[in-house]
Symmetry: C2
Subunit: 220 residues, 2 copies
């Protein structure tokens, strides 16, 4: 199945991720068949929109019967690309977002497989990251690292002022997608997939709302 990037909105993908989470829970609960109404109840998305989303990718259910939970789960994994292992390089160690990788690699989905860690600075070079079974390597080796380990994704966790320069190095070395954790946006050619993750920005909507929307205290 080939789908052009433009055909599918970001919101559709986000909803698919949600269906995936809910279906996983339903599997754990031993529910073998699910109907769009139940998916709707658990996700807050209208059953009509759920049927439309799923029909877009080929319609996996039987009218009046519903969807087979396992089958739908596997199909969504395929659609989202979770059925593939994506070799990934982590670049930069200065950002707090990288700490969980060092402590605990389950922050990312299982399909994201970290196969190299690069740091811009000299002082961490050669250091072992035991839970990943990797050693920290220099940016100078990036092209060889990406090509020899068939890496497609780079996780960018360098200080903001290095973000664009480092992204350019990754792209020149053959990377296909970048998850940018630095707080600065990066620019790339159209054929490079970019996801910007700004943790501060996620909190900002909340602090903005709390500051500017009057609320009544409830502690009395």
């Amino acid at each position: 199945m080939f789908i052009s990037r433009e055909d599918i909105s970001r919101l559709t993908i986000q909803r698919m991720v949600l269906y995936h989470s809910v279906l996983k829970l339903m599997q754990e609960e031993g529910i073998t068949v699910c109907i769009s109404k139940e998916l709707g109840r658990r996700t807050g998305i209208s059953p009509h929109l759920i049927r439309k989303d799923l029909a877009y990718f080929g319609g996996f259910g039987t009218k009046g019967v519903g969807y087979e939970t396992d089958y739908l789960f596997r199909r969504i994994e395929e659609i989202l690309g979770y059925d593939t292992s994506w070799n990934t390089v982590l670049v930069g160690l200065d950002m707090p977002t990288v700490v969980p990788v060092m402590c605990y690699s389950r922050l990312w989905p299982e399909a994201i497989k970290i196969v190299a860690i690069i740091d811009l600075g000299k002082k961490n070079q050669g250091m072992a990251v035991h839970n990943l079974g990797l050693t920290i390597e220099p940016i100078e080796n990036i092209k060889d690292i990406i090509c020899s380990r068939k890496i497609t994704i780079g996780i960018l966790a360098v200080p903001p002022s290095y973000a664009q320069k480092t992204a350019n190095q990754l792209i020149r070395a053959g990377i296909k997608g970048i998850v940018n954790f630095s707080s600065f946006p990066i620019f790339a050619p159209e054929d490079i997939a970019i996801t910007q993750v700004n943790m501060t920005s996620m909190f900002s909507q909340l602090t903005f709302d709390l500051k500017h929307v009057a609320t009544n205290g409830s502690c009395s």
Copy 2:
């Protein structure tokens, strides 16, 4: 200044966060006056839209001269609510997103001040979290904890199947805003500010794009 939540789009807030990051870097570089063209060059946002965003909040610049960097930075901090300290409770320890808090509390903006940690399970109760100077407390004490420590924000990091139930407990106890790190959406009354953070979802757009958009290999 009172601004209704409906007046300001999420995208405006996200752009304000970006201006904030860029202005911080400009301050560090010793740039005392900045023009919208330079802000535009660094953020990728059109200077026209930047002027429009800033004018919306009151117009901080002088025509033909630009904005005073320090002043604009401080005004944006005020607008985003970063000038206030937000007492926050962290609820749940099961999610990998919580690990950085235990290791390294700088994952959140400085304005977010963690003053309590609650776990649903029994086994971690009373355990000290040294870098935060806190001990883990039980959910049963939630109302007292929220009221006595003037807590407005809850960070929800419980397993997905506990997310809604725990959110309800926080809301009943008087919380005003929730940052939900569990992969399930939560529902709340309109006067409660909610931000959903789904790390898996951020990677999914990328793996979707990489899977469905043809790319040419560049290793040769």
